[in-house]
């Protein structure tokens, strides 16, 4: 079995009001010096396959077709 961790983040230049709100909340808790916070998503996907190259191609297709909205989001894939 192959495990994949997919991290989806907002592209640079796309406003992230949730990240901003978290940034303010961290400030309110007394954490000084927080430059900025960007919020993202993590997906852990288990694949039956044992072929890493095939798995990677399949995960990439999943990201492009559903897991990420590439208009506003980037993604990165880590296989384990």
């Amino acid at each position: 079995m192959i495990k994949a961790r997919i991290t989806v983040t907002l592209k640079n230049g796309v406003l992230d009001p949730q990240g901003k709100a978290i940034e303010h909340a961290l400030g309110a808790l007394g954490f000084d010096g927080v430059g900025s916070v960007r919020q993202g998503k993590v997906f852990d996907v288990e694949l039956q396959s044992t072929d890493k190259a095939k798995a990677e191609a399949e995960i990439k297709a999943m990201c492009d077709r559903l897991l990420a909205n590439t208009v506003i989001e980037n993604y990165s894939i880590a296989l384990a």
């Binding site: 796309v14 009001p17 077709r65 559903l66 897991l67 909205n69 208009v71 506003i72």
Partner: protein
């Protein structure tokens, strides 16, 4: 004019939409279920508002991948009119039938109120019964209506008159770029808008500013 309304689990404005279409066109729309692989021959397909699939993943993301959306894309390609309101708009952008994306409101708050809309392009099949630049009232109710598109897409939308409705008089409720409230596709037969014109069509609603949109697209004279 024959119309169809798409039903998906989690939508909640379908009855309002069916009522509006029935009252204004004089006959009830057919309904199409999300798993239907074909859509009957109609002139207008409407995706109403709500919270399809609980807004899981991203608003409209799951709904946009349902079989009925492929059928709608084929119809749109052939020139059939398609309109998505609120969650319907989110579904259309997720399905790639309209450009850009709808993001969380800048205030992070769900907004349910009346806004002012300027008819930015009255030369579309959806707005021809409005006067150019006319400002109308319209209710909004959403959490993710903050329209975003990259600079190049935005330039095309603005340059080609694809921005059809804009929040007016400082009533932008969500931080939407260029105050965009509704856009049409390049061919002009697919409209997506966040506000709910179906909820302002008769005196009982407190006004009928949304009615002309339906009359336009249903082929009624002004």
């Amino acid at each position: 004019m024959k119309s169809a309304v798409v039903l998906l689990p989690g939508l909640n404005r379908d009855r309002d939409m069916i009522a509006a279409l029935t009252k204004i066109s004089g006959k009830p729309p057919v309904t199409v279920w999300e798993t239907d692989a074909t859509v009957p021959d109609v002139d207008l397909i409407v995706i109403p508002g709500g919270f399809s699939y609980g807004d899981y993943l991203r608003c409209g993301a799951i709904a946009a991948r349902m079989p009925v959306m492929r059928a709608i894309a084929e119809k749109a390609d052939k020139g059939v009119m398609v309109m998505g309101v609120c969650n319907g708009f989110q579904i259309l952008v997720e399905a790639g039938l309209l450009p850009g994306a709808l993001m969380r409101n800048q205030t992070l708050k769900f907004v349910c109120r009346e806004v002012k809309l300027q008819v930015a392009n009255a030369n579309t099949a959806f707005t021809r019964n409005y006067a150019p630049g006319q400002v109308i009232r319209c209710p909004v109710a959403h959490h993710d209506g903050n329209y975003f598109a990259d600079a190049e897409t935005l330039k095309t939308l603005e340059g080609e008159g694809q921005v059809v409705f804009r929040y007016a008089d400082g009533t932008n409720p969500n931080g939407s770029i260029n105050d965009i409230a509704g856009i049409v596709s390049a061919k002009g037969n697919v409209l997506g808008l966040m506000p709910h014109p179906e909820n302002l069509i008769e005196a009982a609603h407190g006004g009928n500013d949304g009615r002309a949109l339906f009359e336009s697209v249903l082929g009624k004279a002004a």
